[in-house]
Amino acid sequence: DQQVKQNSPSLSVQEGRISILNCDYTNSMFDYFLWYKKYPAEGPTFLISISSIKDKNEDGRFTVFLNKSAKHLSLHIVPSQPGDSAVYFCAASGGTGNMLTFGGGTRLMVKP
């Protein structure tokens, strides 16, 4: 049973437009959420995080929104750039340990 789900395996966006990546979770014990970006043959790189006491966190072009009642979070990238093309993983932690539980990833392609 997947506790963190990313229902869109891929997303294609034009350069300069907004990219919106979505993530849903089922475990109500999760209280810290992260987004990682992964290029081929590299490990995941931390992008942005949000605590459950907040509903929004912004860092430059990246904003994460958390809707606890819906158990849903999203990552907005504005404006999208070709260098943003990568696989994005949503992850969550909390409850019994500090390990991360990951979603299956969304491949973002930003077209010039």
Partner: protein, 115 residues
């Protein structure tokens, strides 16, 4: 500064062979994690160390998997009698402390292929 390094980057093993995968965390990082990433999926937790103590091994899929971090720095993940279903990328991550908000920094992974 130096990030998390892993070796070897690629490993091909025949079914039944034992393998050892090494992780060098960022210097001074207390916490070390191992994850397994199957093709087309997200990473899945295997085990967690705080310094030399293995505090959580709930994600290890079988008793063929064994991990150690004897001096609280370098860690080795050992897989005995490898099976084809062990083929995956094995990722190591470290964090400065042990809180859930401490960022986990990942190495590039070791891609294991079992023939």
């Amino acid at each position: 500064g130096a990030g998390v390094s892993q070796s070897p980057r690629y490993k091909v093993a025949k079914r039944g062979q034992d393998v050892a995968l090494r992780c060098d965390p960022i210097s001074g990082h207390v916490s070390l994690f191992w994850y397994q990433q199957a093709l087309g999926q997200g990473p899945e937790f295997l085990t967690y160390f705080q310094n030399e103590a293995q505090l959580d091994k709930s994600g290890l899929p079988s008793d063929r998997f064994f991990a150690e971090r004897p001096e609280g720095s370098v860690s080795t993940l050992k897989i005995q009698r490898t099976q084809q279903e062990d083929s995956a990328v094995y990722l190591c991550a470290s964090s400065l402390a042990s809180g859930i908000t401490d960022t986990q920094y990942f190495g590039p992974g070791t891609r294991l292929t079992v023939l």
